[in-house]
């Protein structure tokens, strides 16, 4: 017997279920309990960078909207920097939670346009949002990214790894000048590319 490798195993994932809002967005569940709900606090006015609004829906394999999804967003600031990097914007959370309207399934995210981010081997990554989706029926949270149609995505090191060129489009939000639309398809012909990071 060789020496044992005594690593622990990661705690297995389970679905967030239909009532994820109780824990992560209680006002959406219909009650008020915390002074501050994390992820929904407004962005301070002095955070630098152009404001953007992203709208969209999440669809299941039958084309129906997924109205009980919860999305988390993690992003660089307008200069392409994350917290703790020298020069990162003070007061910007970089992180948000997004819950769609329970009746229509449409979500809205208000944030700043991220800058290009330094990537592997010194290559620049095109501006993007990192997204993480949880919902009933999703056993392990799904990671993906959203890029912007009016930015230069040609040299992005992640997009360029997608073998089928038409699938790259599933990560690119339509729109320009601060107004974007991004639909996420969990399954089917328009299936969004999900990432194993």
């Amino acid at each position: 017997m060789p020496q044992p490798l005594n690593y622990l195993k990661e705690t297995p994932s389970q679905t967030a279920g239909p009532y994820v809002h109780i824990g992560l967005a209680p006002r959406a569940a219909g009650f008020d309990i915390y002074d501050t709900e994390l992820g929904f606090d407004a962005m301070p006015d002095d955070v630098p960078g152009p404001r953007i609004r992203v709208t969209g829906c999440v669809f299941d394999g039958m084309g129906a909207t997924v109205r009980d999804v919860l999305i988390e967003v993690w992003q660089a600031d307008a200069a392409g920097l994350y917290p703790d990097q020298p020069g990162a914007a003070a007061g910007f959370r970089h992180w948000a939670r997004v819950v769609p309207d329970f009746d229509t399934g449409q979500f809205t995210l208000d944030t700043v346009l991220p800058g290009a981010v330094l990537g592997p081997q010194g290559r620049m990554q095109a501006p993007h949002l990192s997204l993480w989706l949880v919902a009933r029926g999703i056993n392990t949270g799904l990671q993906t990214r959203m890029y912007f149609a009016d930015q230069d995505n040609a040299a992005d090191p992640v997009l360029s790894l997608i073998e089928q060129p038409h699938r790259r489009d599933t990560l690119i939000a339509r729109g320009a000048d601060g107004h974007y639309h991004f639909d996420i398809h969990l399954q089917g012909d328009k299936e969004t590319v999900f990432l194993d990071v």
Partner: protein, 237 residues
């Protein structure tokens, strides 16, 4: 810095047909594997500013005119990484049904009543050694529309952050000895019985408060991290 590969054979697969909602909500294409970049290897941090000590006490944090009804318990444990190192000051959020299996959610129509003194959610920051603790009511089992006669075991949902967005994890904690665990399609979507055991909290009498409340212990393990060695990464650690 880089994270250990997530073992996708240990986690439940996306498509688990006995859990019916997963059929239309699971991707059919393979995931794209990417090396983590700064976009995935960093993540949000939370200070004590927005969180109050009451937030972790579900017996008190929604009490209106008395204590909630049910079995009083402490749920505590540590947040560790796969190296066994504590994950300090990370945010742990929980949510659950009340003692009768009813959620305080406008979409829950189960006939069991709402408890006027129970909200069902809490949040704490782990301490410097990764310890966390909640005080709550043991949740009840409840029926759900999957098979006609499916019942979820008693469970508490947990959400944990770690330090990297790619460590983000949501899971469910079950209670030692619950006979419904063996019958639940959501639990049994996990292929390895050892992985299911990792979601079952044992009774922890040592941490019970005599004449007041029982305790269960639940440790949470997030993906391990290491410094990059022998790799030419201009972006550094």
């Amino acid at each position: 810095m880089t994270l250990y590969q997530r073992d996708r054979t240990w986690h439940p697969p996306a498509l688990a047909p006995d859990y019916k909602t997963s059929v239309a909500r699971s991707p059919r294409q393979a995931m794209l594997s990417i090396e983590g970049t700064v976009s995935e290897l960093t993540g949000p941090r939370f200070g004590h500013g927005a969180i109050t000590p009451l937030d972790g006490d579900l017996i008190a944090n929604y009490a209106k005119d008395g204590d909630p009804v049910g079995e009083r318990i402490i749920v505590h444990g540590r947040v560790l990484d796969e190296n066994g190192r504590p994950v300090p000051r990370t945010l742990v959020e929980i949510w659950q049904a009340n003692a009768g299996g009813r959620y305080r959610h406008k979409k829950d129509g189960y006939l069991a009543p709402i408890d006027p003194n129970f909200g069902g959610c809490g949040r704490v920051l782990a301490d410097d050694q990764g310890h966390y603790a909640f005080r709550t009511i043991k949740p009840g089992a409840y029926p759900w529309r999957n098979w006609v006669n499916n019942w979820r075991p008693a469970h508490i949902h947990l959400s944990v952050f770690g330090t990297a967005f790619a460590q983000r994890l949501i899971t469910q904690m079950y209670f030692e000895g619950d006979p419904l665990i063996a019958h639940c399609p959501i639990v049994q979507a996990i292929p390895d019985p050892r992985a299911i055991d990792a979601l079952i909290a044992p009774l922890d009498l040592n941490q019970a408060v005599p004449l007041d409340c029982l305790a269960y212990r639940f440790d949470i393990v997030l993906r391990g991290r290491r410094s990059t060695v022998f790799e030419n990464r201009p972006e550094g650690n």
